[in-house]
């Protein structure tokens, strides 16, 4: 009887012990997801965050980089604030990630979100786009200096952008103006409902210039185009269709601006999980499928691991709050 019980016990106990041992070992060294990962795009389908989430999920699945699938979920609202409020409630959950970019810093600084980047776990920076300044092809402005001088002389000249005041496009041009010795708030920034809307208005001659994302603008440049680029905010010249466009620094304005994109996770995500995702995303950036997709979308890889990304975000917050307070838009 006793031996039987013991035997029985051991039959049960052995696998349990083995299982327990395995999982502790896994936690110590290698964590892997136990179910599919919710990958949140804090916006409607079709935008930048959504494209990042869907492209990453697709490449990871296509190249079989992970055992569990990445499920793209759209949580639109409040320029990201609705999704952030939702993720913030899920503290410690290693299966919840979201796409992020400068609004993660800007929206909280404008006082429109209870949560800011410090409430979440930075996972990795993935890639970046740059800001670009466009004028009509037949415009009198030949370079950045022409345009900035004209803006200095006549502050009523309008510069359109695709986002609200105090958001990416506005910061990009205000920061440049500031670097050129102007008051950041002196730029007559006209917010349009999107980069495409702003470019249409530039083609129609309703505004003087447009500040927007380089990736979005590249299709509008080149032979036969109605638009012309005066400069990009990168440190070095970009490739492809933008190789002819000089940087701001080349033209004597010491200013760069990154439209970075990355991934963050729920608050207090376990370190092992962060390490797993860091490696996974680094591996993903090396695949041909990713290469192909980024080339088509005009993305430039700019990987940073969790620690570097966290420090980068802190530094961005500092920089943006300076510009926002100059603009009188800081509400924190």
């Amino acid at each position: 009887m006793t031996s039987l019980t013991l035997k029985r016990l051991s039959v049960f106990a052995l696998p349990i012990a083995a299982f327990a041992g395995m999982s502790t070992a896994a936690q110590a060294q290698e964590w892997t997801p136990e179910r599919s990962i919710e990958f949140v795009a804090p916006a409607n389908p079709g935008g930048g965050w959504d494209t990042l989430v869907r492209t990453m999920s697709r490449v990871i699945q296509q190249e079989e980089l992970a055992d569990e699938s990445f499920a793209a979920i759209n949580v639109p609202g409040g320029g990201g604030a609705v999704a952030w409020a939702q993720v913030a409630r899920d503290s410690g959950n290693p299966h919840k990630l979201f796409a992020t970019s400068p609004p993660m810093i800007l929206v909280p600084l404008a006082g429109a979100s209870r949560y800011d980047h410090t409430d979440f776990t930075p996972v990795a920076r993935i890639n970046t786009d740059y800001s670009i300044i466009l004028v009509a092809a037949d415009s009198e402005y030949q370079n950045l200096e022409d345009l900035l001088n004209a803006l200095k002389e006549d502050p009523s000249l309008s510069v359109g952008g695709g986002s609200a005041p105090g958001s990416m496009d506005h910061i990009a041009i205000a920061g440049l103006a500031s670097a050129a010795g102007m008051e950041a708030s002196a730029v007559n920034y006209i917010p349009f409902s999107g980069g495409g809307d702003a470019m249409t208005n530039l083609m129609g001659g309703h505004i003087e210039a447009v500040v927007g994302g380089a990736g979005e603008a590249v299709g509008q440049l080149g032979e036969g185009s109605q638009l012309r680029a005066l400069g990009v905010s990168s440190e070095e010249r970009l490739g492809g269709g933008l190789s002819e466009v000089p940087t701001y620094q080349e033209q004597g304005f010491d200013y760069t601006f990154d439209i970075w994109r990355g991934v963050m996770g729920a608050p207090d995500m376990p370190e092992e999980a962060v390490a797993y995702y860091e490696d996974l995303f680094a591996e993903m950036l090396e695949t041909d499928a990713w290469r192909e997709a980024s080339d088509q979308l005009g993305w430039i890889d700019a990987y940073q691991n969790s620690e570097e990304f966290g420090a980068f975000l802190d530094q961005q917050q500092e920089q943006f709050s300076d510009v926002l307070s100059e603009l009188g838009l800081l509400r924190q």
Partner: protein, 500 residues
Amino acid sequence: MDAFNNLMYGFGIALEPINIAYVFAGVFAGTIIGMLPGLGPISALALMIPITFAMEPSSGLILMAGVYYGAIFGGSTSSILLNAPGVAGTVATSFDGYPMAKKGLAGKALAIAAYSSFVGGTVSVIFLMLVAPLLSKVAVSFGPSEYFALMVLGLTAVVSLSDKSLIKGLIAAVVGVIISIVGIDMQTGTERFTFGSVQLLDGIDFLVVALGIFALAEVFYMLLRGGGGKEAPRNAIGSLKLTRSEVKEIAGPVGRSSVLGFFTGVLPGAGATIGSFLGYSMEKRIAKDGDTFGQGNIKGVAAPEAANNAACTGSFVPLLTLGVPGSGTTAVLLGALLVMGVNPGPMMLTERPDVFWGVVASMYIGNIFLLVLNLPLIPLIAKILDLPKPLLLSLILIFCMIGVYGMSFSVFDLLLLLGFGLVGLGMRLFGFPAAPLILALILGNIMEESLRRALQISGGDWMTFIDKPISLGLLVVALLSLGLPLLKKRRKKIPPDVAV
């Protein structure tokens, strides 16, 4: 002749068996998506991007364009049968379509919608083919001042949409403008009427209001009036056939609205919804029996249906000739083209003629498919009206709730839907017309944004609206269309309505 050769080239692409299959799949999926409230073409197309990724760009765009105009085509079905607009572009169709269905003329209403959509779609493809490259100039000629004037012109329709009492119509319009303002103000980043709620930061979705005020309010109203023994039997679908005089009657409205709709669609940001409202209110004003609009006038179904399909095609002009999206839906299409490796831009017409002409040719085929697909379906779909009333009402209720929840996955939006249902019920009980509210909701936001943008560009100078010929012209037309009906009313010396 050049256009003809190009079109033949386009048909060569569109008639490849695989592309015919894609057109069919696209318009079929679009029809279904359009019929279901909530799941609009935008989200459907975004979900399709991964599927089209590996496709030939012309095939991918043929498929996705089919979903888009198929949805606008199919959206009229639920507008007419259930008073629940399937997509934003078909709200105006319910104004006369639903009263027709109530009178037992559902079959005829659906048939008129299908024929008008077909004509609107086909006429606009001809325009797209012949004048698209020229029209790119028109599309960019509209700046903030011009948009403001266009929106003012659109809002004058409130006068013709307030059937009984102008005061009540104006009150409804003001409420509509207020709802359109909710959320973060684009110009300053200030929150307006959000009461600290994160869910309201992005404003209130148009479809939540439309489904609440039309469909849900109708359900409440029927519940309130009990089993409804007095009402005409709803189970009659009626004949699908149009008499010769009816065809004659709608020919004019369909023709005019097709052209109007197309040009509205060409303007970035205007689109199918505004196009259908403009078509509807124009016909209501022109028609001799304009005062029977809203009670089941066949012209009131024909005009918006022709206009919204034409506008849908028109919105491809800025996308295909300039590479800028004219609407939320074409913005997703633009993204899809990028993913497929096509650079949408001014050079696309010369660099990738296969995409442009293939899509144009496929639209002819797609519109024929839609007509052939939809007509035989009408008796089947209209059977939904045979359901016993309790079942039908619960079905509408579930339909609306799934639609709204599927849009945002937000319970908050469901509560909003319920709230607007009650608002709609109150409006019906006290004789407030719903159409001006919806119109003002659509136009209010764009009107305010363009007004402030225009003034910001001009440095606060109001003359910007007078100095620009297009905006001046539109404002004069607005003034005329506002003044004439009032004068007419005064001349008739109608006694002021005391109580409604």
